[in-house]
């Protein structure tokens, strides 16, 4: 089987579900003729035609509104925003309408829309192209926030997101789009939403992360393993609702937890996870919970961004600090 990249896995999932379900519609800026800014939708226009692959004007609020209208009337729209920094004009539509339809209509209507966008730094891009603001969406009741971190999970989780009857914010780590390849069977099998994935099993410390930071976290994990530290690595995958049970089970075993995210530290999702652990597993902790996160600054331009993205060394340093507690 051919190995494919994460962005090709996105394309493969879109094509599979468009073939399987005629109600699936792809829309967004340049998703048709151009194939998408990162080529995530390449080939879909030729295969499924302009009725189902729609190039939109450069107006994010309209893209979201269009998707919501389609969704509440029975279609399954998958809307692409070119970069996370451009999704903010659509927040009114997403927060005030997409997230609320089920509640507003007492369950008579739902909004089965997927809002896709590449996110995160590390691609030498200008301002607005490196955002990691998943916490904004995680805070909104009624939204599901899903972040894949490998081609297999991109494929399986996107299928699950499209099939889910409620709105999903689907954030794709652009830094990992073409970073490496993996075999992804095109079998239409979805992976479960709302559950973490345990990528490494260990007894000394739990590293909790998601999205592109899996790369640095696994690099750190490999080095720490060489140093004799037994590391457990959890990919949260669904940021909201949070599968805290998996994280708690791990922390109750290891007694140490480090949360790694690219997003700015203050009010990041790491703060929520730390609070949950403090409420429910405080007595199992051997050391203070640590966060390794982006700084509370705007993500810098290309030449400085490597100083912003948490490095594997910062993760190793945090682990060394908590390992000092017996």
């Amino acid at each position: 089987m051919a190995e494919i990249t994460l962005v090709e896995a996105i394309n493969q999932a879109l094509a599979y579900e468009m073939q399987a379900d005629p109600n699936v519609i792809v829309l967004g800026e340049d998703v048709g003729k151009n194939g998408g800014v990162f080529r995530a939708t390449v080939g879909l226009l030729d295969r499924f035609g302009p009725e189902r692959v729609k190039d939109t004007p450069l107006a994010e609020s309209m893209i979201a509104g269009l998707a919501i209208g389609m969704a509440v009337r029975g279609l399954k729209p998958v809307a692409e925003f070119q970069f996370m920094g451009f999704i903010y004009p659509a927040l009114d539509q997403i927060i005030n309408h997409a997230a609320r339809f089920r509640n507003r209509t007492r369950g008579r209507m739902s909004c089965p829309a997927v809002f896709r966008t590449p996110y995160g730094a590390g691609i030498h891009a200008p301002e607005h192209h490196s955002e990691s603001t998943e916490a904004i969406f995680a805070h909104i009741p009624g939204l599901r926030v899903v972040i894949p971190s490998s081609p297999q999970r991109a494929y399986g989780l996107l299928l699950a997101a499209i099939r889910d009857p409620d709105p999903v914010i689907f954030l794709e780590p652009s830094r990992l789009y073409r970073w490496a390849k993996q075999e992804v069977p095109d079998d239409g099998k979805a992976l479960p939403l709302d559950v973490c994935f345990t990528l490494r099993q260990g007894n000394d410390v739990t590293l909790v992360t998601w999205g592109a930071m899996l790369k640095e976290t696994l690099e750190a994990s490999a080095k720490l393993t060489e140093q004799g530290v037994s590391v457990e690595v959890i990919d949260v995958a669904t940021i909201k609702p949070l599968d805290i049970d998996t994280i708690l089970a791990s922390v109750e075993k290891t007694g140490r937890c480090i949360i790694i995210h690219e997003a700015a530290r203050t009010c990041g999702v790491g703060a929520e996870i730390a609070a949950e652990i403090a409420e429910k597993a405080l007595f199992s902790l051997k050391a203070p919970i640590q966060r390794v996160a982006g700084y509370d600054t705007i993500v810098p331009y290309a030449r400085m961004e490597k100083f912003y993205i948490p490095s594997s060394q910062r993760i190793i340093d945090a682990v060394s600090a908590v390992m000092e507690f017996a």
Partner: protein, 370 residues
């Protein structure tokens, strides 16, 4: 000659400014090797080589502006690009890695947990560390199985060295010898009684010592040393009996060497001399070495039977309980008899059950012979 034209670097930008050349004319490059750093209105982008081969000409110097579609690099040879690359985007040419995504085994949800750590507040954890308490040994009494500060303190008082006195001297020696014995020796004990009704006005200790000499003759296997590592034994001709002497300081075992060579009187004198020397702590180490078997006369204090503990490398120890009157059956009559309860522990690695029984039988026979 192949000409590489500047591709669209994204969003239909018309031009780009050369920031830095990574290669020079005459260089041989491979596919995807970065050629040049270009700055567009939106980003700084590295442009990779579409061909493998020798570079003939670079079009443009640093800070020069190149229009999209204009020649950028001339390569030697003919032909189409090695592989059509995806057109650029706002973030530059979409380079693709050949790296494998190696994740190992992925578990959906939580990994199966072997054991959980003890539940304890950080402050109490610090207290436990201070008191040298292993929190996994503490019995928790708090809510949801929480180890409380009280639990840690209680554990420290019960099991920890804070209020305990360290052993020295013979007590310490006893502790280490008994531990060694418990770990090594395959101990078995047999018990029986000697009828000593006929022994009136005799020195019982001396009589028992002499009985042990007689028994050693009958069954030499118990008057021996055993080496567990070599699995070897040494039978002794002389019977050197260690006599357990209880003192406030601890247990002393002076050795009565070659008991057979002594008269009753000289044995008693030696015993008395040793008892005084032990009490006064003047006994020499040489007087406490070389025993081939031990006699423990614990019955002078209390107790009928016991399971005395062997001191390696010896293979046996005889214990004498308190002599007492019992109702003995002789023929059809019940007559008051005086008996001496005996307990013999032997190392079953070196001594058979038959040898031990015969030895004990020989001791009894010798005592009962008057």
């Amino acid at each position: 000659m192949k000409i590489f034209h500047l591709p669209d670097l994204g969003e239909g930008l018309a031009e780009a400014e050369i920031r830095e050349w990574y290669v020079k004319e005459g260089d041989v490059v491979r596919v995807d090797q970065p050629l040049v750093s270009l700055e567009t209105a939106k980003a700084v982008v590295d442009v990779p080589s579409p061909y493998a081969g020798k570079i003939l000409k670079l079009h443009g110097a640093v800070n020069q502006i190149i229009e999209t579609g204009a020649p950028l690099v001339d390569f030697e040879g003919e032909g189409a690009p090695a592989k059509p690359k995806a057109a650029g985007s706002v973030v530059g040419a979409l380079e693709e890695s050949d790296k494998q995504w190696n994740e190992g085994d992925v578990v959906i949800g939580a990994a199966k947990t072997a054991s959980k750590t003890a539940k304890i507040l950080p402050a109490v954890r610090a207290l436990a560390k201070q008191l040298h308490v292993d929190i996994n040994q503490v019995i928790p009494t708090g809510p949801q199985g929480l180890v409380t500060a009280e639990d840690v303190k209680r554990h420290a008082n019960q099991y920890q060295a804070n209020d305990m006195e360290e052993l020295h001297g013979v007590r310490r020696t006893m502790a280490s010898i008994m531990t060694q014995s418990h770990q090594e020796v395959a101990a078995a004990t047999i018990i029986d009684d000697a009828d000593i009704s006929e022994l009136v006005n005799v020195d019982m200790t001396v009589r028992v010592l002499q009985a042990m000499v007689a028994a050693a003759k009958a069954e030499p296997a118990l008057n021996a040393w055993f080496n567990g590592k070599l699995v070897a034994r040494q039978l002794h001709q002389e019977v050197n009996i260690g006599l357990a002497v209880d003192t406030a300081e601890g247990l002393f075992v002076p050795v009565l060497k070659n008991v057979a060579s002594h008269s009753d009187k000289s044995l008693r004198e030696l015993i008395n001399k040793f008892k005084t020397a032990v009490t006064e702590r003047t006994i020499s180490p040489s007087d406490m070495q070389g025993a081939t078997i031990i006699l423990s006369n614990f019955g002078t204090l209390a107790g009928k039977y016991a399971t005395p503990v062997i001191v390696p490398p010896m293979v046996a120890i005889l214990g004498c309980g308190r002599a007492r009157e019992v109702a003995g059956v002789t023929g059809e009559k019940i007559i008051a008899r005086r008996i001496l309860p005996l307990s013999l522990t032997f190392d079953h690695r070196a001594v058979t059950g038959g040898e031990a029984s015969r030895y004990l039988g020989a001791v009894i026979k010798e005592l009962e012979s008057g």
